[in-house]
Symmetry: C2
Subunit: 229 residues, 2 copies
Amino acid sequence: MSEVPPVLDRKLARELDRRASEELGIPSIVLMENAGRGAADLLCRLGINGLVLICCGRGNNAGDGFVVARHLDLRGYPVKVALWADPATLTGDADVNYHILLRSGIPIEVFLTESDSERFAEECRQAAWIVDALLGTGSAGKPRPPLNRAIEAMNASGVPILALDLPSGLDCDTGEAFNPTVRATYTCTFAAWKKGFLAPNAKQYLGQVHVADIGIPRKLLQEVLGHAK
Amino acid sequence: MSEVPPVLDRKLARELDRRASEELGIPSIVLMENAGRGAADLLCRLGINGLVLICCGRGNNAGDGFVVARHLDLRGYPVKVALWADPATLTGDADVNYHILLRSGIPIEVFLTESDSERFAEECRQAAWIVDALLGTGSAGKPRPPLNRAIEAMNASGVPILALDLPSGLDCDTGEAFNPTVRATYTCTFAAWKKGFLAPNAKQYLGQVHVADIGIPRKLLQEVLGHAK
């Protein structure tokens, strides 16, 4: 085996998804389904005793969160989606999965402004698990209002947090933790570790890291990881 | 809870898929992905020590089999697909998944006529597991050549068989076992039990039955199962 550093930076993570779709013909929504299902599997193994509050932004990370909600509901766990976005602004696969939830009667509560953060904080405190699907690998820089307030409330709740792909606020490439960054108990990262996870400072935000595959064939994964720096 | 018989007949199974796609907006390829991944999960739990030979026909059941192959390969298990169809005749989601396999370098061997059945029988004997993805719920009546020969070879191999959705040759609605019918060790059925499984004679062909969800939200599943006879 060659020395393949098993990490993806932001660019390679995007490249992996793009090549899976364009070269192999895997629809991007299939990758999202695998990501969300893998995270749901992990939560089930960790143990769920009460409400799972799935906190979503407006990007693909939110879409992964919607899939988690559907699979957990299907398995009989109580779930609620806290959507920090105007539903009308959702696009692509995230929008498809949002509408599946909507038509399936799975509870979704929308939070839009900083003034909603106390109501959100109360939701957080009621949960047995919080899933962080606010910001994904595409995000960079300090979380902007109102998401900064959402992150603060999640951290302040004392409830265990599972971050999807990476904790919101953590930089995918450098591992820099902007203020605020989600302090996850577990991070379910997709396909491979992210480069920033190797930064010594990142550990305290990541918690325990699990890798969930997203159905991308081994051959492509190894090709792309072989180009990782 | 109302008395909901948890079985699907051929018509309801099709109806469930159709409503999931048309009413909820779940792409049919997402359902196929969940089916195949669920079956791969089951095989992993049962234990795999050697080659998994995935025997596919030309329908959607074959597509589920292709997904099983991709997920097992991704998890590092040795797999081979035995395709009892001219690849040019594959359509829809099965065709999409066939091409993903092809581009991923996963071994696929094509069998076309009865004269290929001895070569196929030898492949069967080499396997640690056989996955039966020849015929699905849509099929009815006696398996026609050359699939009858394929089924006979699978049964004669003495290798444990996991059937996807139902054993090939078993009637979804009546449980009648046409000659020949796959004698499965395990059946991984999708979404819910099939009506024919309740026939006393079916048990010996089904082996142990596991239900794998296919990501269809609970609300729709209950609605459709509520109409089951």
